[in-house]
């Protein structure tokens, strides 16, 4: 329970306390203790809400979601049995700022639960009163995350997940599922459950479930976690009325499958889970995509309200003796709960060149940054060490703080005492404090050797190159062009359209061919888009803002100069080697089935019996991912066939039906229309053989074990459709090499960060969308394509781009011209130039990405990576080593043992 005055959450912006409605004064005009105690007289209990009118050109609705409330169903006993919690409650238990500072304790007796059960689909996939018929799309994976974190906290914990289908359909989710499943003491049990009773003495909760082997069982758990689903935001009806937008039947925003960010009202867009249940990467696609669409509307006044940041001029401090300031962060309780922060501050003050040290609650908070800049000025600091978290997320922020104070940003050093220390040593507080001191001592040692570095300003060419003319590429190209930028769209085939040319409708009923004709028409008509068909890329050089790409098309070669590149080359379909595919023409892929249905092929539409087999060529060792789209595709084809020929017997042989989100409704519809769903296990796959019916008719005999009936089923099928895996495009590896971008273990392109940067590559200026990133449905592709356009615009709308100062440099006198550095540089950033003293290596700093391989391989130390020089690294190593005296003492102690 929060008090009436509290900080909303640890990373809230602004990070200030506020008073909520439970305040005694606001309710009953009592108390006012806070006003008396606040020294700064910051509390105003008479503040009233204000109405402000703002004129805007467009609106984005991103109200998020509301977790499902399990009180709506008595059977969950939530609020009744104290040891039944929701997954959101459990998330708080896991959190270091949570009720028990990150310890997983039961509320009933404050003991560590040893046996924990997760119950999936709470409030989801239910057509009963109080439930939602759709699948909430995220619960399978978030529960797995909670299991992994639980096992992290307590390796002995027994975790049981009661589930229906496991829907790990996202990128890398299948591996994540496998990782969870393989943890010791983790059970996945496919069963419906009921919560039976609470043990009045122990508070334990009994769960009833059934398995095909053991029948109905009851088992007691210390804690039961309800994996609650996603509901629309609480006040959605009034919001819909206010903005004049339509809702769908589940009360999420009604969206257009051809543009899931658009509402029915022009100028009003939607992003995030208001589109429907979404996970974080997809919310980020849609956020960036909605931004791009607003850019299309308002680009003519881009930057009107923007104010340029003006930094104070940078002082030249290179000649000064280092004066180091150390700021040690508590990170709320994350560090402070384990590490004795005041003692590290005291220790820091004893280190050479440290002239100032202090502690901070959250060094990343705005007021803390102000404190740092103030202290730099007051104490004349010329180096700053922040001892806090990993530099990965916040180093940029602190560097900016230094710039604000007028000193070079490379005079900043971060000591990671959270991930490397307090998080892993929560049970060894004293040792963790000593380790924090060691880490700070090392950082201070390095800080003494830091050098000011200058970053590079590079001009930005305002054109973009889009590789791939499918739905993803065309959508991105149009959105970029509609914001006034020239686009070069390169397509390998004769026509634009990609894989979508082979699809007739989506599951939701969108006419794909009409959509495609409209889209390619817009692309061809747009004067800013140059289309190159039957084109291949032969060479790509340059760097962010200044790429040069050579394209061969129709016997000609174009040299395209562009500032950004988008890779949208889609994916290929696996050619099955199993189930008689290629040997018997009655066996086809789901895509071929879609085409045959569209053609009205009598053999297909008139078949008495048709079998679909899911997961062909994926979710297996060599392709360890889910192709995501196939369950929906098969349901779509099944519904289409049932519409044409209601008498047809359709069987779908599946492992988990992954009709996530609203697609669940179509799964239910198919089941209602008599489509039979039979689950199989990967170790006992279906068998397909040519054979005859009892009447002598030639058929395909499909045998599959039926776990519900507990026997083998033999189905006579006239057609077998295989849900063949979606595989990376054959062009992937070649393009990755040309644009110097990376691939995931499954061979799809790898984004810079799954959640934070899902449509860009680690290589600056190169972006990604569509099935080249991972298999996805049309609507999802469009979401991501607009998202990529949004990110491209954040680059192209600038006149200059900044490149890091941490790059390599050659000391010519030391270079012996051996060329070993050139051999290890994949960026082509180094070349040999002939001088009077022989051949010498020269670095182009703009191409250098600062990996430093050349530095390590150079025999003479002629090439160095700035900001990670030998001097700096060695100073840290030296500081890490215990002093000679300490070694002697330890050795003496060991010898006397």
């Amino acid at each position: 329970m929060n008090k009436a005055i509290h900080i909303y959450f640890a990373q809230a912006i602004p990070l200030v306390a506020y008073i909520d409605e439970s305040c005694l004064y606001l309710k009953e005009k009592k108390c006012r203790i806070c006003q008396r105690i606040c020294q700064n007289k910051a509390i105003n209990l008479n503040q009233m809400p204000e109405k402000v009118e703002i004129n805007v050109g467009a609106i984005i609705l991103s109200p998020g979601l509301e977790p499902y409330d399990p009180r709506l169903k008595d059977e969950y006993h939530y609020g009744d049995f104290v040891n039944v919690v929701t997954s959101m409650d459990y998330e708080r238990l896991l959190c270091s700022t949570g009720p028990y500072q990150g310890e997983i304790l039961r509320a009933s007796d404050l003991k560590h639960p040893q046996k924990i059960a997760w119950i999936q689909c709470v409030g989801s996939r239910q057509v009963t009163e109080g439930g939602n018929s759709y699948c909430s799309a995220v619960c399978c994976t978030y529960s797995q995350k909670q299991v992994i974190l639980t096992k992290d906290h307590n390796a002995e914990a027994e975790c049981t997940i009661f589930h229906n289908d496991i829907r790990s359909y996202g990128k890398d989710f299948e591996r994540y599922y496998e990782r969870t499943e393989n943890l010791p003491g983790v059970r996945f049990i496919r069963s419906y459950t009921s919560i039976v009773k609470e043990n009045s003495e122990t508070g334990n909760v009994t769960v009833r479930y059934s398995t095909s082997d053991d029948g109905v069982k009851e088992e007691e758990f210390d804690l039961v976690v309800l994996s609650v689903g996603l509901n629309p935001p609480a006040d959605v009806q009034s919001m819909a009325e206010k903005y004049g937008i339509e809702l769908n039947r589940h009360e999420f925003c009604k969206i257009n499958p051809a543009n899931p960010m658009k509402t029915n009202r022009p100028g009003i867009f939607v992003s995030g889970a208001f589109q429907g249940p979404l996970d974080i990467p997809e919310s980020v696609f849609s956020a960036s995509g909605a931004g791009s669409q607003i850019g299309e509307l308002l680009s003519f006044r881009r930057g009107d309200l923007a104010r340029e940041r003006i930094y104070p001029p940078e002082e030249d401090l290179s000649g000064e003796e280092p004066r180091i300031g150390v700021f040690v962060c508590h990170c709320g309780a994350n560090i402070g709960r384990v590490v004795n922060v005041p003692s590290t501050v005291e220790y820091s003050l004893t280190l050479p060149n440290v002239v100032y040290a202090q502690e901070q609650l959250f060094s990343c908070a705005t007021n803390a940054a102000k404190e740092i800049t103030d202290m730099i000025k007051e104490k004349g600091l010329n180096r700053v060490v922040v001892a806090a978290c990993s530099p990965r997320t916040l180093e940029m922020l602190f560097r900016d703080t230094l710039r604000e104070a007028g000193i070079n940003q490379y005079y900043f050093e971060m000591a990671n005492i959270r991930e490397h220390n307090s998080w892993v040593h929560s049970k060894e507080k004293e040792a963790a404090t000593e380790k924090a001191k060691d880490i700070i001592r090392m950082s201070v040692a390095r800080a003494r050797h830091l050098q000011p570095l200058q970053e590079f300003e590079l001009p930005v060419n305002k054109a973009a190159l889009v590789v791939g003319g499918g739905v993803a590429g065309m959508t991105t190209a149009l959105s970029i062009a509609n914001q006034g930028h020239e686009v070069h769209l390169v397509e390998r085939d004769v026509d634009l359209g990609g894989t979508a040319q082979r699809i007739q409708t989506t599951l939701e009923g969108l006419d794909v061919q009409a959509y495609l004709a409209d889209l390619s028409g817009k692309v061809y008509k747009n004067p800013l888009i140059h289309v190159y068909t039957e084109a291949t890329i032969t060479e790509a050089t340059g760097y962010v803002g200044n790429f040069i790409t050579r394209v061969k098309y129709g016997g000609r070669v174009a040299e395209i100069k562009h500032g950004a590149a988008v890779i949208a080359i889609g994916a290929d379909l696996y050619t099955p080697a199993e189930y008689l595919y290629g040997e018997d023409d009655r066996v086809m892929t789901h895509l071929e089935l879609d085409e045959q249905i569209a053609k009205g092929d009598e053999k297909v539409t008139g078949a008495e019996s048709l079998v679909m087999i899911q997961c062909v060529g994926c979710r297996q060792e060599d392709r360890n991912y889910c192709s995501r789209i196939c369950c929906s595709e098969s349901i779509k084809n099944a519904l289409k066939l049932k519409e044409i020929n209601p008498e047809m017997d359709i069987y779908i042989l599946f492992r988990d039906m992954r009709t996530y989100g609203f697609k669940e409704d179509y799964y239910r519809e198919a089941a209602g229309k008599g489509v039979r769903f039979i689950r199989y296990e990967p170790h006992d796959k279906p068998q397909v053989e040519a054979g005859e019916t009892e009447e002598g008719k030639s058929v395909l005999k499909v045998t599959v074990p039926d776990y519900i009936l507990g026997k083998k089923l033999e189905i006579d099928a006239e057609i077998v459709a295989l849900a063949a895996a979606v595989i990376p495009s054959a062009e992937t590896a070649k393009l990755a090499g040309l644009f110097k971008v990376t691939l995931s273990p499954d061979g799809f392109f790898k984004e810079a960060h799954v959640k934070l940067r899902p449509v860009e590559f680690g290589t600056d200026g190169v972006y990604l969308c569509g099935a080249a990133h991972y298999p996805k449905l049309l609507t999802e592709t469009i979401n991501q394509a607009y998202g990529a356009a949004g990110r491209v615009l954040t680059l192209l709308s600038h006149d200059i781009v900044i490149a890091s100062g941490s790059v390599c440099e050659v000391n010519e006198n030391k270079c012996m011209g051996c060329g070993d550095c050139i051999a290890v540089c994949s960026y082509g950033a180094i070349e040999l130039r002939t001088t009077r003293q022989g051949k010498k290596a020269v670095v182009n700093p703009v191409l250098c990405k600062g990996d430093g391989l050349c530095n390590a391989i150079c025999p003479t130390g002629a090439i160095k990576l700035k900001h990670f020089t030998d001097e700096q690294i060695v100073s840290e190593i030296d500081a890490a080593a215990p002093e000679e005296e300490i070694i002697r003492q330890i050795d003496a102690a060991v010898a006397s043992m």
Partner: protein, 244 residues
Amino acid sequence: MCSGRVDPAHVIRAFSKGIDGVFIGGCRLNECNYITHGNYYALNMVLLFRKILEHIGLHPERLRIEFMSGSEGNLYVEVVNNFIKKVKELGPLGKGEGIDEDILKSGLAEITRLVPYIKVVKNAKLRTPLRNPEEYEKFFTGDEIDRLLNEVISYYIDPEKCRACMACAKRCPVEAIISAKNRIHVIDQEKCIKCGTCFEACPPRFGAVTKIIGEPVPPPVPEEERTIVRKSKEKMIDNPLPID
């Protein structure tokens, strides 16, 4: 920076400072954060220097590299705990192996001095990515390392042949050649990194720089005997000295 930026000199520095074990964590193989796959280079460096540690009598297990992603906290903890356990078993550096402290110190000092030379000789091999873990152990053999460190190359300027032309001194990347006009050049063996640049730079007609393998280098000519007496400059151009 990449794990491939870890210089063998850093590793040896840590051991020289009395650190008992060195652990290098890199990205998972084939999942490079850059595009350079520098972790393969780091791997080879570790494989090579484990053999070198063995050569000077240290246990190779004191140096370890593991590959993991930022999201694999559990794996990291497991691997580091396991490494610490191993290092504790091995005992303090040198003592655990039963080597005399002075011998250990001089061994490490020698390797520190030879790092540039080791790079010159082994760079091509260090750059070869090893795809198959079965190759790891045999990629660098003990014999190979013994040869590398017992048959160390040295360069020596033959005072009889040196014409004090400064060609080698100007090109030396570490300023190891003591030189002046009309003074016989001498290689400072302490500074020399054995890169062979002087050997290449010496005009063939002089051929003064010689390569010595595994043998001690003759002592340098005493300071007072280094002046070259030669005829007038014009004459020298008219009448170049014979090559041998």
